[in-house]
Symmetry: none
Subunit: 181 residues, 4 copies
């Protein structure tokens, strides 16, 4: 104890705050992907190279940081004007990469997830508007339909290791099971 040289993590003061937050989210993203949502919360602090208590200061629990990661994902989608199909593919990619975020969303009881749902809905609404204008979607498809479709694809892909699961599911969503009259 009372060592001399001291290796790395001396208190860098409040300046580290923003940086720590970023490091924590990044660590969480990696760990959720590698080991699932069940990783010890403390592992995130360790991976981020941040003190246990700082983790708690920034995020009260695993769900909170899961939502933060998801939030970043969503931000990536918000800028772009994707088509429905592309959007579903992106969602599927994200779901495959971090299955556990969906668990975080489902587990959330804080209302933070609700805000994300709203943003997701807004993105989807925009897409629908554009597609409808082109007649690329059945006119009867509502935003609720599309949101449900996104959820179905995401959870299915997250649960199915199979490579082609996404394409398969997306195709199905587009076509439906009933015969064309």
């Amino acid at each position: 104890m009372s060592g001399t040289g001291d290796t790395s993590k001396r208190n860098r003061g409040p300046a580290a705050a923003a940086e720590n937050r970023r490091a924590l989210i990044q660590a969480a993203r990696e760990l959720f992907a590698e080991r699932g949502f069940a990783v010890p919360f403390s592992a995130i602090a360790r991976r981020a190279g941040v003190g246990q208590a700082s983790l708690y200061r920034h995020f009260p629990d695993k769900v909170a940081i899961g939502i933060a990661v998801f939030d970043e994902n969503l931000a990536l989608l918000e800028g772009e004007h994707l088509r429905m199909r592309e959007f579903l593919e992106r969602i599927a990619d994200q779901a495959r990469a971090s299955t556990s975020l969906l668990e975080a969303l489902v587990a959330d009881r804080s209302g933070a997830a609700a805000e994300l749902q709203t943003r997701l809905r807004a993105i989807i609404g925009g897409i629908l508007d554009r597609e409808r204008a082109e007649g690329a979607l059945d006119a009867r498809v509502s935003v609720d339909d599309a949101v449900a479709a996104v959820s179905m694809v995401a959870f299915h892909v997250a649960a199915t290791p199979d490579e082609g699961a996404a394409a398969h599911a997306i195709g199905l969503i587009e076509r439906g099971l009933m015969p064309r009259p």
Copy 2:
């Protein structure tokens, strides 16, 4: 005290084995429904009124007993000759009732789940045959499609507390999103 008659849970010989097994599965079904797949494994033994070690004798871990519960569910479906729509509704009911079984399936690494998949596939195959004969399904719908549909509905319902989620999802699966030509 240490007489012969004995009260209740003293060693009742092999006869108890089958009975214990049933009690354990029932307890697991209840606890998964009530408290999710994260219930302590030991809680299942307690609820079943059975010793810890007996639980381990019958099931090596939580995934194993989860699969056993799912197996029972599947057996309930095998006898009946359901239509696709009814089948999806039944699956949705089961998913809503015990979300955690899906977690068990996803978590399984023992291959036990694979056998269940096969049986599920067989059931679905039978349904498809019957429906196709009547022209009630698009001829291009494969068994893989239908299996994917089942998965999508199940996971979506499990993740969505909303009451109408099942009906919505099933309707969507039937119609698809694309416009009818």
Copy 3:
């Protein structure tokens, strides 16, 4: 791991239960005396040479084990037919030896302490009866008075390191502050 010789604490089976309980109470008695009621709960298990979880099985928390120690103390007093003065001296001895038990009693919210109070009251009642028969106590002294006196002596002694605190306090209780008419 999977060591050979193995040092000491192999699982000795349920036979160890009673023995463990006794060891835990003894360890608690020592540690409360040495380090106060604030000792880590886990230290008790360590000192007793008992697994963490066994401690929790026997006693849900520190208060519970504190009460168990106090219970033993009380049992020591129940057998004997002491005079009030001797009784107060014994109480003072116990309070000095394990100040923290009083903290446990005060902290208790489980009702277990209430039962101890009742027993304490019974002991005190018996003493009063005997002393009154001899005219050694003011006839107007009620059981409530005597219980309060015991409490006052105990807490005062527990809080006062001074050697003669007990004798002083007991004398005061006997005489009162007011002048004899």
Copy 4:
């Protein structure tokens, strides 16, 4: 933003020191009363609206600030010329209001408490002188007796939730248990 005027808690120079000290003591008083002596030290800073480090500058630890609160209490008693009975009642009131101060006194190892004891002793000495002059106290009652009486009443009241505990204990102290000859 980083202008001159500044909003509220920016460095206000040494003037703030005294003010901070007062706010800290007040916060400590409240928190000890509300949550006991076990409140996190840092909670005091938070409640006072003061930085952690300022708390440490003023008081090295919880005991120190506890003693400061007690010191204020004592000052309230020093001005007045109370009778013994009134004094005991005031002490009982204070003990009931902030049980934890007694814990602080007991826990003190810094000698600060000793100074308070001295002051307390002086107050009590004054009271005794006045009462003795009137013959209201047994002539044999020493200052030590009275100090012990105060301690007994205070600790008993602090430990006993019961409403009438103080009156009961004070009465007992005045009368004693022994029969009047």
